[in-house]
Amino acid sequence: MNLINRFYQRKNYKISGLLVVILFILAFWKPYALIYGIQRGSLYVLIALPLALSLGVIGILNLAHGDFLTLGAYLAYWICIYTGADPLLTIIPVLFALFLVGYVIYKLAITHVLKASPLNQLLLTFGFAMILEESINFLWSSQPRNIYVSYASTSTTIGSFTFGTYEFIYSVTAIIILVFLLLFLKRTRMGQAAFAVGQNSRGAKLVGIDVERTYLFIFSLSIAILGIVVGLMLPRASIFPMVGAPFTMKSFCLVAMAGLGNLTAIFWSGIALGYAEALVQSFKGYGGWADIVFFIVLIIVISIKSYRRQIL
């Protein structure tokens, strides 16, 4: 099964557009759910974009993606505790640290399974996921940790609604990273090389692109971007060893919804998923069911794709 890379695929725009229209209709029905949904969904987008990038270019699904997020979160947390720095300032050191982690993991492991069967690739990243989860649990216990900063609980009142505004930083950053990635893939030499490698790695090699170096850079970049995400998350979220793991599955759900390589559609899919979850949560007594929404969406998407006989 070839992982065919199709950046800027047009076909899914219609579906995404329809979703947006539905969102606006529902916005009048449950406005709080829309606000929380956008905030939550933007976070999903932030985490799913790098996963989509590495899956699209390298063709390896990194099952440890969410656990690298956890690792970054703990790094940021300890930097805050030891230096007293503002969580947002940890973005820069954590970004570089995670880039280095990605570099090392690629050099030590990923590069050796590029030609292996997809089974071995999945098992390898699963092994890394387990090592990360269990090591973090072992080193820093499963106790949740928080960092309090006053600006994280700012809120705005419009009419009769009061809602937290900090989380809109996710949406802004998601758009910035999306635009950055699109420009990177279109305009820079490395980005164009990555685009070509993603479409046909053998052809890219023939025209003189250093495929190995491109893979290395994209894999490290996909993990480094998580450093930005954890810096933003830290003021609002509790950190515990399993904080990142569910995001791997949700990110994959978004990639499946958007179609591989379609970065813009990931944005809309993320908002849609976040909104769907927030909507489920807004019903009293049924809030706990929000965590399986992504699974139902994933099953529906897979059923539709298998009906159309599309292969990722």
């Binding site: 099964m1 699904l61 292996a116 999945l122 390898l124 092994g127 996921a129 090591s135 599955m249 399986i292």
Partner: protein
Amino acid sequence: MKNWEYIVLIAIIILFVAVPFFTGPYILHVTTTILTFLSLALSWDMMLRTGQLSFGTAGFFGIGGYTAVLVYLIFNMNPLLSIIVGGIFAAIIAFILGFAILRLRGIYFAITTLALSGVFMVIIKNLSNITGGAEGTILPSAIFNGNPIKIYWLTLVIAIITIIVSELFQKTKIYFAITSTRNDEIVAKSSGIDIFRYLVFVFVITSAIQGIIGGAYAQQYGFVSPESTFSTHFLLLPIAMCLAGGLYSTIGSVVGAVLLGIIAEYLKMQFPYGHLIIYGVIIVLVVLLMPRGIAGTIKDILKKRR
């Protein structure tokens, strides 16, 4: 198989049946645990032989456990029968799920099954009036009133059945169907193999086995809770066992399970919290350095000698 091989096999089975008569309670407990994980590992390997990677082991194990405990409590069912019901329920879920996702295979299948145990945990926590929610449910008494020898025999029977099913998969025409599917789907399809039907069939059978193991495990301890019943333990350890022993064969999983089972017991006493890290390391190292596992590597060496 030659005649002497049958004799060895029967001797091994008699030896295992007789284990409770010449060992203490601790060794018996360890052997029971190893047999449980052996069956889990083998059922995981059986699915892998089709070329599909399932991470649903812990999920179906947990479903079987919960179903067995709940039907026992609600309908007052015979515990042995409840274990079978657990297996049947896991099979039904595998059938529905397999029907939806096995047409698109590969990473879709892997990640959907990986999500399973988390999804079931959420469902069980939310149906708290039936399942006991996050605290779990405790049975008034364990199966056979907690008699360890009978529990051991029950686990042994399940392990033997799993080994027989695994050998049937290796010896009948299913073997050719799933092996050719794993090696090259297009060739398999053009030779007239209905890939989808075989995949669903194997998925349902292996999930049923995992459900039965889960049911027996839950009845053995008389206790289910979301965190412990759906623990990653029941996924990580079987995978590490199969990889260490060698994939795609009965003997590989058995060797891996016995070896890692003994090591696991030792590690659990030495490092009560961190021992799961080691299984992750084993998975990574085996995939990178020894993709054919211990049994496979020994086979290779023997072949070279000849």
